[in-house]
């Protein structure tokens, strides 16, 4: 068990977001978390890497409960993770090469030549060779996400987290990102956890899907079982039906 989440609760002010979330992730698993917008998916993802601390419950990474660790104690734990943010979160002041090689440059364990070589290698994996000197502002949304992914995989983490990887992209760019995620998981043999409300993407990149509903895990199934489910909550969500009555009339 690489990640174990036990009865995690989180509120922002008077608003409860997570109300007792429990699940675990095996090493090498490809998991997708789906749920309504504002339902706490990103909040849950941020708990896994210690960006947020739960009000109650435990988050165990490799057997260590990270909920009680301070920011400095979390640094080595986070070294096991790579994360792709919704807006890519590239550093504006650095070019593509510096963004991707950021962690290696900071750690100074690898020579500058080796860093340049590894940057070139991951840029090839994400299909952006030759963009080393470009600034994030010069890149399209899809390219920014690819660079974000390259930055997350350059140091070969054990676990990759994706926060809404296809949000804001056109269908073709979203398809390319889906394929890229699948390719990265296969090539680097990492554990992958993606949060999305894009059902096509969820179906393709996950081998197991968790559905978050009203602050709890409502379903934990394979994509095939989930998309065939007759449960009204799951059915309405995966088919995008706001009002079942209206759907019948149409």
């Amino acid at each position: 068990m690489i990640i174990e989440v036990r009865d995690v609760k989180k509120s922002f002010g008077a608003l409860p977001v997570l109300q007792g979330v429990t699940f675990s992730v095996e090493k090498g698993e490809a998991l997708t978390i789906i749920g309504a917008s504002g339902g706490g998916k990103s909040v849950l993802l941020k708990h896994l890497i210690g960006l947020l601390t739960p009000d109650a419950g435990e988050v165990r990474v490799g057997g260590v409960n990270i909920a009680g660790l301070n920011e400095r104690e979390l640094l080595p734990v986070r070294r096991q993770f790579g994360m792709l943010f919704q807006g890519a979160a590239l550093f504006d002041s650095l070019n593509v090469e510096e963004n991707i090689g950021f962690i290696l440059n900071r750690e100074r364990r690898v020579s500058p030549g080796e860093i340049a070589h590894r940057v070139e290698e991951v840029l090839e994996v994400v299909g952006l060779s030759g963009t080393e000197k470009k600034r994030p502002a010069e890149l399209s949304g899809g390219m920014r996400k690819r660079v974000g992914l390259a930055r997350a995989i350059i140091y070969h983490p054990d676990i990759l987290l994706y926060d809404e990887p296809t949000t804001g992209l056109d269908p073709v760019a979203a398809d390319a990102i889906d394929h890229l995620i699948i390719r990265v998981v296969q090539k680097f043999k990492v554990t992958s956890i993606a949060v999305t409300h894009d059902m096509r993407s969820a179906r393709r990149i996950g081998r197991r899907i968790l559905m978050l509903h009203e602050g709890r895990i409502y379903a934990d199934q394979t994509p095939e079982a989930l998309f065939k489910s007759s449960d009204p909550v799951i059915y309405r969500f995966v088919n995008g039906i706001a009002d079942p009555q209206e759907e019948l009339n149409v």
């Binding site: 941020k46 890497i49 210690g50 960006l51 920011e71 400095r72 979390l74 640094l75 080595p76 986070r78 070294r79 993770f81 790579g82 994360m83 943010f85 919704q86 807006g87 979160a89 590239l90 550093f91 504006d92 950021f102 962690i103 900071r106 930055r151 997350a152």
Partner: protein, 257 residues
């Protein structure tokens, strides 16, 4: 006490507590983790070199106006030649450090808060954390060290230009004897005044860096949040500088005399 005054006081004390925790983290980072000097030098350029013109102009005109005003009063009691001594002591121990710090708080404090605030709302600070980098090590420490190193230099430059500008105004424009003017300035400005001014610049530099970084790192979401953090960084650091200047003056006078 009105509710807005209460809220202001509450936020000021809350900021003070956060600032204390940030200071602890900064000193931990400086002494336990090696600062990246390349980043410090870059920040010294950004904070120091780019602030030079504004600080020099402030020093020059403050010295000139102080000279003119002091002369108008001293001339009545035939103490014209003491004019530059008053300007010098005032500039070295009070006006130089305070005005330089206020100008730097406006220019650099706002810029730091806006930059870090934007990084926070665009999740760049979270990205840093996921890349196993403590934001204090990468963002705060270089700015803090750069501020400590450049503030005394900026203040010294501002004070020298101010005194020289006052000398030119006194000797050339107001017709005061330049020899006595210069001699009295050297005679009445002692090392304690210089030490007082220099100690203040370190403290004020630290205040600007800590307040601006704190406001940026804890910036509320959205463009409005960044705007608010920027304004607060300037207002809170300026007020803290003015308040601490009073207490520092009392303490340093007691310690150095």
């Amino acid at each position: 006490m009105t509710s807005s005054a209460k809220q202001f006081a509450f936020e000021w004390f809350e900021g003070l507590g956060r600032g204390a925790l940030l200071c602890r983290e900064i000193f931990h980072s400086i002494f336990k983790i090696k600062p990246v000097w390349h980043d410090v030098v870059y920040q010294m350029y950004s904070i120091g070199v780019k602030s030079q013109s504004v600080v020099t102009i402030t020093g020059a005109f403050t010295g000139m106006v102080l000279c003119a005003q002091t002369y108008l009063e001293f001339h009545k009691v035939k103490m014209d030649t003491a004019t530059l001594a008053v300007v010098s002591v005032g500039m070295v121990s009070q006006l130089g450090p305070v005005l330089t710090s206020l100008m730097v708080a406006g220019r650099v404090g706002a810029s730091i808060a806006a930059e870090l605030g934007t990084m926070r709302v665009t999740e760049q600070i979270d990205a840093l954390r996921t890349l196993a980098t403590h934001p204090v090590d990468y963002l705060v420490v270089p700015r803090f060290l750069a501020m400590l190193l450049v503030m005394p230099l900026l203040t010294a430059g501002s004070v020298c230009v101010g005194i020289f500008a006052a000398f030119v105004v006194g000797a050339c424009l107001l017709g005061i004897n330049p020899t006595y003017l210069w001699y009295n300035m050297l005679h009445y400005t002692n090392m304690n005044d210089v030490m007082t001014g220099m100690v203040k610049t370190f403290v004020f530099g630290a205040i600007i860096a800590v307040v601006a970084c704190d406001k940026g790192l804890n910036c509320p979401q959205g463009a409005e949040g960044v705007g608010r953090a920027t304004t607060e960084a300037v207002v809170y650091s300026s007020i803290t500088i003015l308040i601490s200047n009073f207490f520092l003056t009392l303490v340093l006078n007691r310690l150095l005399t």
